[in-house]
């Protein structure tokens, strides 16, 4: 395995740009106070030695990845290499053959249904096909996860939260429409709103800009960054769209032959001499 950058505790660009001694710290003239050490970023997802196969087809083979708090990690890879399988294993929709997936310290493959539901309340999932319920209006689509995870919530609170997330994605006027009455970009925004309504700490995006025109794709990428800043979420983003990758990624993990072939920032991987890596940036 070629590792470009191995980040056990990855630093976001914001922390990299910060001075070592913040402005409010004492100067040389002031009494000496022990200098605060930069604390390692809390890891919200730790994947170790993950293996998953379908019949004779080995999809994930000793895959390792860590995601820090409020960190956006993009998983790059060719079609069919198991990127979607990876995030479906993280959310517990697929069970890996071996390995561990720790989400907030809890090993997902070992959880029972109720424990898994408690973790899922903190993890949003944006499906590639949006997966909006055809028979429900936008309002009902957004209410559905709220009603399921937060059973005792009042109708007034539900209405307020629905309108808040719809305002955030700029589609408050669609509240009583059916998904079939919306455009592709609008459906993606509604799907994002449904993901955000539980105020998750982690969001898993499965190709969020696939099937959208470049302009709408840029809008969705911008929205992902905006929502990440607003809700302080960590994310794993599966994408082929390099504009989306550039805009959203704090860290990129390249998935080749079921392994995390390389990790690093957009700039470091873009200038890699490794043919397997730079092919994604051409």
């Amino acid at each position: 395995m070629t590792t470009i950058e191995q980040h056990i505790f990855p630093e976001s660009p914001t922390t990299q740009d910060q001075p070592l001694i913040p402005e409010h710290m004492p100067t040389q003239d002031q009494p000496l106070i022990p200098e605060p050490q930069p604390t390692p970023k809390e890891q919200v997802i730790v994947i170790e030695h993950l293996r998953k196969r379908f019949g004779s087809n080995i999809v994930l083979d000793d895959f390792n990845l860590t995601v820090g708090k409020e960190e956006n990690v993009v998983v790059l890879g060719k079609s069919g290499v198991g990127k979607s399988v990876l995030i479906k294993c993280i959310i517990g929709l697929l069970k890996p053959d071996s390995g561990s997936i720790l989400v907030f310290g809890q090993n997902i493959p070992g959880l029972d249904h109720e424990e898994l539901d408690r973790v899922r309340a903190k993890v949003g999932f944006l499906f590639q096909s949006n997966a909006l319920y055809d028979s429900m209006t936008v309002r009902k689509n957004l209410e559905f996860p709220l009603r399921r995870h937060w059973i005792s919530i009042s109708q007034e609170e539900v209405d307020a939260m629905v309108m808040e997330v719809l305002d955030n994605v700029g589609l408050a006027h669609t509240v009583d429409l059916l998904p079939e009455e919306l455009s592709g970009g609008m459906r993606k925004r509604i799907a994002l709103a449904r993901t955000l309504i539980l105020k998750p700490d982690i969001i898993l995006y499965d190709e969020p800009t696939t099937g959208l025109d470049p302009v709408t794709g840029k809008e969705i990428s911008g929205l992902i960054v905006e929502m990440q800043k607003k809700y302080h979420t960590a994310s794993i983003i599966i994408s082929h769209d390099m504009h989306c990758v550039r805009l959203t990624a704090d860290k990129i993990a390249v998935l080749i032959d079921g392994k995390c072939y390389a990790e690093g920032s957009f700039d470091s991987l873009q200038h890699s001499a490794d043919r397997n890596i730079c092919q994604f940036f051409e």
């Binding site: 539901d117 899922r120 559905f144 996860p145 995870h149």
Partner: protein, 256 residues
């Protein structure tokens, strides 16, 4: 060798359906029953099927009466027409025809709906949203189907008898009161109860096959079409098999 492979596929599918049915009973017994969804499904499955069942029941009663009359006239027992039509409708034709119409409408719609939900990841989205999709989608639909078909059969039988009354009055004049007295006087316990009980099995079969085909469909939109189609075919065959078994059982029990 195609034949052993098809036979093996048949056995595998039978095993999968049996497991799916077992899963239905396991999930039905678990907490948090989806009552509001069950009521919604009862409305969609029962109320929305009523016009179709009513229309076919009416035509069935009318046509059956008109077809039977010449034969009964030949034997000089035209006066027995209401009783004969009544027994035929209540014991056999009403339940089976209504169940077949129901299978055509409901099993196909369940197969297509759940199949498309599966291929568009809506079932996965439901699971991520803290919902047990099997309980929410399958248990409620099968329960609604099992509960609603007997109701539809009763209504269909009633409308079929009304059609028969009109059929009787096309060539002769019989009062409403006399017609129904002749029908009811010839009914026995063994005519009504087994016919009513078997409709629960018909409804269960339609629900479980419709849901099974949809819930396990694959191969994208092609798979959705196949799921809808095979749900109707398989549930229709099962209706006849259940009918055959029920007739044998009631015969053994002396209810015929």
């Amino acid at each position: 060798m195609p034949q052993p492979t098809k036979f093996r596929q048949f056995l595998e599918e039978t095993g999968t359906v049996a497991r799916f049915t077992g899963q239905y009973f396991v999930q039905t017994g678990k907490r948090r029953f989806e009552f509001s969804e069950l009521l919604r499904q009862c409305y969609l499955i029962g109320y929305n099927s009523f016009p179709l069942v009513g229309l076919t029941g009416f035509i069935m009663g009318l046509v059956l009466t008109m077809q039977l009359r010449p034969s009964l006239v030949n034997y000089g027992v035209e006066s027995q027409l209401p009783a004969m039509v009544g027994i035929a409708i209540v014991r056999e034709i009403g339940p089976v025809i209504t169940a077949l119409i129901f299978a055509g409408k409901i099993a196909s719609s369940m197969g297509a709906e759940l199949g498309s939900m599966k291929v568009t990841e809506q079932i996965d989205a439901m699971e991520v949203s803290g919902t047990n999709p099997f309980k929410y989608l399958v248990v409620t639909r099968v329960a609604a189907s099992t509960l609603m078909l007997p109701v539809l059969v009763i209504l269909g039988d009633g409308i079929g008898l009304a059609g028969a009354f009109i059929g009787v009055n096309i060539r002769s004049t019989t009062s409403w009161h006399l017609f129904f007295r002749q029908v009811l006087d010839n009914f026995a316990f063994g005519d009504v109860l087994p016919a009513f009980i078997k409709t629960f099995f018909f409804g269960f079969a339609v629900g479980i096959i419709g849901c099974y085909k949809g819930y396990t469909s694959s191969k994208g939109t092609e798979g959705v079409g196949k799921a809808a189609n095979s749900a109707v075919v398989l549930s229709s065959i099962l209706i006849f098999i259940i009918d055959l078994v029920v007739v044998q059982v009631t015969d053994v029990l002396g209810l015929n």
